[in-house]
Point group: C3
Chain length 326, copies 3
Amino acid sequence: QVTVMGLVDTYAGSMRNAGDANSRASVNSGGLTTSWIGFKGTEDLGGGLKANFLLTSFFQADTGVQGRFPGDTMWSRDAVVGLSGGFGSISFGRELAPHFLPTILFNPFGDSYTFSPLNLHNDVPLFNASGWSNSVAGDTGWSNSIRYTTPDFGGLKANLHYQLGEQAGKTGVNNIGANALYFNGPLALTAYYNTVEVNNPLNTAGSSVGFGASRQKAWMFGGSYDLKAAKLFATYGQTSHNVDLDDKTLSLGATVPMGAGKIMAAWAQTKREGTVIGADQTRKTASVGYDYDMSKRTDLYAVYMNDRITGTNNGNSFGVGIRHRF
Amino acid sequence: QVTVMGLVDTYAGSMRNAGDANSRASVNSGGLTTSWIGFKGTEDLGGGLKANFLLTSFFQADTGVQGRFPGDTMWSRDAVVGLSGGFGSISFGRELAPHFLPTILFNPFGDSYTFSPLNLHNDVPLFNASGWSNSVAGDTGWSNSIRYTTPDFGGLKANLHYQLGEQAGKTGVNNIGANALYFNGPLALTAYYNTVEVNNPLNTAGSSVGFGASRQKAWMFGGSYDLKAAKLFATYGQTSHNVDLDDKTLSLGATVPMGAGKIMAAWAQTKREGTVIGADQTRKTASVGYDYDMSKRTDLYAVYMNDRITGTNNGNSFGVGIRHRF
Amino acid sequence: QVTVMGLVDTYAGSMRNAGDANSRASVNSGGLTTSWIGFKGTEDLGGGLKANFLLTSFFQADTGVQGRFPGDTMWSRDAVVGLSGGFGSISFGRELAPHFLPTILFNPFGDSYTFSPLNLHNDVPLFNASGWSNSVAGDTGWSNSIRYTTPDFGGLKANLHYQLGEQAGKTGVNNIGANALYFNGPLALTAYYNTVEVNNPLNTAGSSVGFGASRQKAWMFGGSYDLKAAKLFATYGQTSHNVDLDDKTLSLGATVPMGAGKIMAAWAQTKREGTVIGADQTRKTASVGYDYDMSKRTDLYAVYMNDRITGTNNGNSFGVGIRHRF
C-alpha cells in the first residue's frame, strides 16, 4: 500500500534578514518546516528483507509554487528506492545530504530554514546587499546518489553517501560524505564529514560549488543533552575550499518545556575568512520562540529572530504560524 | 487520513471566441469544470476545533500540462492550512478569491471557464485580435492570503479575504475583499466587493493589475430562484480602476431540468468604457447546452456558444464532453 | 476510490551510446521502465458501463526531475477520461500512441528506453556526435486525442487513435493510427500503422516531425512465441516521410527463464536512407541482461549493451538496477 503524507506550514509575519533594506510583511510557507507532500511504501520480501520507496516534493504553501526555489526539481525532497534488512539499508536516487540530519537534529529549531540560525548560516543564501551565500555546499539533498545506512549498534548509526558527478570522461568528480548519529537516553552526539564537487539538485559541468571553488570540504560535531527542565544543543563545524576561504560556525541553543509546548532559543555565529572575500565577515543570528502543540500533528508557533552580518543592515523578523502534518 | 480527489473534464469540439480568425477543431480540457487533482485532510483537535489542509492542482487533461496557463503554480487551486470551529474558520496560504464563489454559484454554467458567459467576461483574457482582457483583476485565487469565514447564520455566510502584497517597505499594497452568500429554500443571494493591487498567482512588484492601472475595485450582486420547472440566475457587477476604465457586466440565465439532466442557458453582456481603451466596447456572449448525469460523479454535456465583441469577428463554438469526479 | 500507483526504477552504471565521446558513470532513472507515479479510478455506471480516469506522471528518480525530458508535461504518461463497456472503450485526452504497445510488448526488454535496442532506435534521440534522431515521430503518447478500443475478439483487440492538430483553420493536420494485438496461448502477433503530422507532448504550428518533413508514415509487424525454454521475439517496421528519408528497422530477441528470473537478449538494426541525410546510416544495437524477481513487485537487473552507428564511435554501456512497483 502507498501512504500519502506531508506537511503544510504557513506563517504570517514581518521578515527582514541581515542586508535587507526593509521589512516585508508576508504570509509565507515553512516557518518551522519546509512544506512538502509525498508518497511512500514498503514491501516485505521475506527473510527480514524489505523493498522501500519514497517520493516527496517540496512546495510553497503561500503561493502554491512547487519546490523550494526556482529551478528546484519536482521530487527534490526524496526520490529514492532501496532495500533494507539486517545489513542496514541501501538506497539509490535523490535523498538526504550527509550534513542534513546532524544539522537539523542538533539545533532547537529543527528543520526550520526560516528561523533556525544554524540552518540559515549553513544552507540559505541571501539574495540581498549582504551577499551572504550558504556555508555548506551541495544542498540538503544529493541527486544521483547511493546511500548505505548501517544497522543500529546500541544507539549508534552511520550513513555513507556517494553522489556520482555524471560528467562524461571525468569519473573523479563526485560528492562523498558520511555521518554518525548516537542516541543514548538524555545524550545525543553527531558528526559528519563531506567533500562536495557537484551542485544540487542539478549540476552543470564545471560549475563552482561556491566562491569560484571547485571543491568544498565540510565537517561538524554536535551534541545535545536533555536535562528535562531544558534540553541543550551545541554544534561546531568548519568548511574549507580549494580557494582561500574558510567558514567556522558555532551554534548553541536550548528548548524549555512550558505548558503544552516548549520555548526554543538558538544562536549561531559564522566567521568567514579568506582572500576570496577580502575583509573577514561575521554573521550572528539569534532566534527565540514558542511552539504550542495543539495535537501530535498540529502546532502553533511564534518566533522572533535577529540577524547580523558585518558591514550591512541588521534585520529583525517575527512570525506566527501553524504547522500541520498529514 | 488523506483523501485523494479531483476531476477530469475533457471535450471535443470546434472552438472560436470573438476575435479568433478561424475555428479550431480541438480535444480540450475543462469544458464545464477546470480539471484538477488534490489532497485534503482534517484532524479533530477536540472541543469542536479542527485543523484542515487542502492542496489542489489544476491540469490540462488534453496534453497533461500542469496548471491553467503558462506560469501558473503547481498548487494554484488551493494550498491552504487552517483551523475551523464554532467561531467559523480561518485559513492561510493560497485559496479562493472573494469573487469566485459569488460568480460560479450564480450562473447556470457554474465553474466553466470555457462556456460560462459570465466567467469568460470576468476571468478569461483572449489572446487574439479582440484584445479582450478579463474584467476582474487578481485571478480566481489569491496567494499569500488570510481568509476568515463566519459561521452559518440561518443560511448566511460571509468570507473576509486579505492578501499581503509582500513588497519590502510597502505594507500598503495589498488585496482585500469580502463576500456574502445566502441560501434559503429556493432563494439564493450573493454579493462581493474587493480592491485588487496585487496580481496572482505570482506578483511582480509595481506591475499593473490591467490597463496600466495599479488598483481595481470590483463588486457584484447576484441572485437565483428555483421555480422547480426552472432555476433562474441573474448578476450585475462593475469594475473601476485608478485609470479611466470601467466595466459593467450583466448576466442572466436559467437551467431547466429535463430527463436525467438539465438544459442550461446563459447570457452575459459587458460594457467597457474609458479613455484607456478609446471607443467603448461591448461583449455579448450566449451559451446553451445540455448536461446529462450518468451518475452523481459522471456527466456528459453538449454546449453551443456565440461570442461577440464590438468591432471584431463573431465566434461560434460547440463542444461535447465528459466530466468525471473522483 | 482512487488508487495511487507507480514505479521507481534506478540503476548505477557506466553509460555510452553510439556517438558519445566518453563513458559516463551514473546513477540514473528508468533502466527497465521509465519511473512514474499516478492515480486511477473506475466508477460503475450500471449495465456494464464504467467511467474511468487515469492520470500518471513520469519522473527521473535520480534527480527528482519531473518528466522524461525538458519540456515534457506534468501528466504526459496519461491524462485521460473515458467510458468502457460491452462496446469496448473510448477515451479522451493524452494517452498511448498507436506504436507504443506493439513496440514494448514485442521485444525482450519491454518498456526500457535505456536498454531495449528497438525502443532506442524508435523513440530516443541521441544528442551527441551521432546526430541520431528517433525513427518514429510523434512520441510514445499522443495529446488532444480520442482513442477507441474494440472488445476482445478471441484474443484479438484493436485500438484506433486520432489526435487533433488543433491548428486554427487547418482541420486537416492531425495524427491518425491504429494497432492490433493478438494473444493466443504461446503465440502473440501485432501490427500498427500511423500517420504523424503533429509533435508531442506539445506541438508548435508548422513544426517538422523530423528531418524537415511535415508528415511521417510508420508501420510495424511483430510476433512472439513462447517455447517455455525460451520466448522468441521479432519485429519489422518502416517509416517514410514527405521528404526523401526512410528507416527500416528489424529487431530480434529472446528471453530465457533461469532461476527466479530470466535472461534477456535483444538486437535491433535500423537502416536510414535518403537524400536528406546524405550517405546511408545503419545503427546496430545489442543488449543482454538478467532480470531477477525478488517478488512480483520488485526485481533486480543487470544489462550490458553495445551500440553502433555508421561513421561514429561505438558505445558500451552497463547498468545494475532495482525496479519497484507500487
